[in-house]
Symmetry: C2
Subunit: 283 residues, 2 copies
């Protein structure tokens, strides 16, 4: 099998550079649904009082580093069999609007989930002075790569309580949302090319999991952080089902055990697209 | 007055560089309303059969050159008093998807329209080999600068015939359309900042004239060029009234005198936003 634990586990790649600028922050914000709400102007407008990065932007500078991991020895996977399964993001410091960022990454864990393998790739994004800005763990599902007798890994946790959600936010996505989100760096054809999507078994291109993630983080930010990114500390999600661009995302939230448990459903089909999710926020 | 004809007329600026790449073409296409119509995939997707530039993209590489004209001697204008009045674009050659473009510009005409002056700035955009790709004439209105006893200039022409339009295309704009279009280079706060828009006398930020222009050119391209940019040769428009982001643009078209006469109305308010407009196309 293409995964060789003895070689892959702990493998590292050298830091990769990402040049940040205000247009990239604005483009990302539009990619995850920011529109003309006056309270959101700071995410899409560079003039005073000044541009601010959305917390979930933290996955973007790490993306090139993530991609480079698929070349490491012992981890030569078939791209067609790969799906984004989980995401964890910690925000250590507010992002400088412009300047170079450097992201190093390593293979943190490889779990055996039966038919699939869950590969956890950890990345740390630092600024030019070496200060840690973001830590990500990308949970990548490799279909057909499980069953090697390895550790199953921990249960996902963050199950919603029985009661009705404390808060619910609905956000429409655009039909062209994936076309727009792709400009932030994830150019997988699955999200834009109808023929490719058909080959992968979908009626039409599906939305990026991390695009849905961005919408959900905005919902938490609005409801539990007063829309202030400095209060948003970390977030963890599982991507359960796909979303089609143009569907409306319903983010259900509960304040529980000192964190915000949430899930995202598609309004049109009632599918849970994001589950086992929680954000740590400052009150 | 800040316009000194003897100095300004014929003044030139050195060529300014614009670096073209596929993401800029895609971003522009999304900025002028391209969505998931399969026939439009070539404007927003870089994989084979390959990306193609929308004809109206031709105004984008000239934009930095246009901005630089406001520094030439005899043309020190108050930016707050400036409005985009007219636009002419000729396409001489299909754009290379990536590479450097160079645009030189000069003050072509300054007409006295009574209270206002109409300043025509001509620009030529060439590729690295020096071949002409685009020729633009930006018609800039300087409010309060007319009445200097100058030439009135020609009548705008391109009046629609009396009969009903031969073709009508409706295209919705997004509430966030101006935020998105601004990323192609026109960062005038009038189109994004509610406070600035209020100072300029508008209820809310207005759409870029050249954004509406992009939608209208797409309508002509679809109806008279089989959506093939190689058949679109030139276009001339007058910006008559503002459009608010979120409004639906109704482009009415007539085939007349060997060209496509058109105008654009806002569906919601019935205002003619683009008038005296015509495109030259190959059958």
């Amino acid at each position: 099998m293409p995964i060789d634990l003895s070689k892959a586990l702990g493998a590292e790649t050298p830091p990769m550079e990402y040049e940040c600028n205000q247009n990239k922050l604005i483009l990302y914000a539009l990619g995850v649904g920011v529109s003309t709400d006056p309270d959101d102007l700071k995410f899409v407008y560079e003039n005073p009082p000044g541009l601010v990065a959305l917390p979930s932007f933290g996955v973007v500078p790490a993306f090139p580093a993530l991609m480079s991991m698929f070349g490491v020895e012992g981890l030569e996977l078939n791209p067609v069999m790969i799906v984004h399964g989980e995401q964890y993001l910690e925000i250590h410091k507010q992002l400088p609007i412009s300047g170079k960022l450097f992201t190093g990454s390593k293979v943190l864990n490889i779990y055996d989930k039966g038919k699939i393998a869950l590969i956890e790739l950890e990345s740390e994004t630092k600024d030019e002075s070496g200060e840690l800005i973001y830590r990500n763990v990308f949970g990548i599902i490799a279909r057909g790569e499980g069953g090697f007798g390895g550790d199953k890994g921990p249960a996902p946790g963050n199950e919603p309580p029985e009661r009705k959600p404390d808060k619910v936010v609905e956000m429409p996505t655009l039909k062209q949302q994936a076309l727009l989100y792709a400009l932030s760096g994830d150019i997988n054809p699955l999200h834009r090319d109808p023929n490719f999507a058909a080959m992968a078994g979908y009626d039409r291109p599906i939305l990026h999991g991390l695009c849905t993630f961005g919408f959900a983080c905005r919902a938490v930010l609005k409801e539990y952080c007063g829309n202030d990114p400095e209060k948003f500390k970390s977030v963890k999600v599982r991507f359960s089902r796909h979303v089609f661009p143009g569907e409306t995302l319903v983010t259900e939230m509960w304040k529980e055990d000192g964190k915000v448990i949430f899930q995202v459903k598609t309004k049109e089909r009632g599918e849970v697209a994001v589950s086992n999710a929680a954000a740590e926020v400052l009150e």
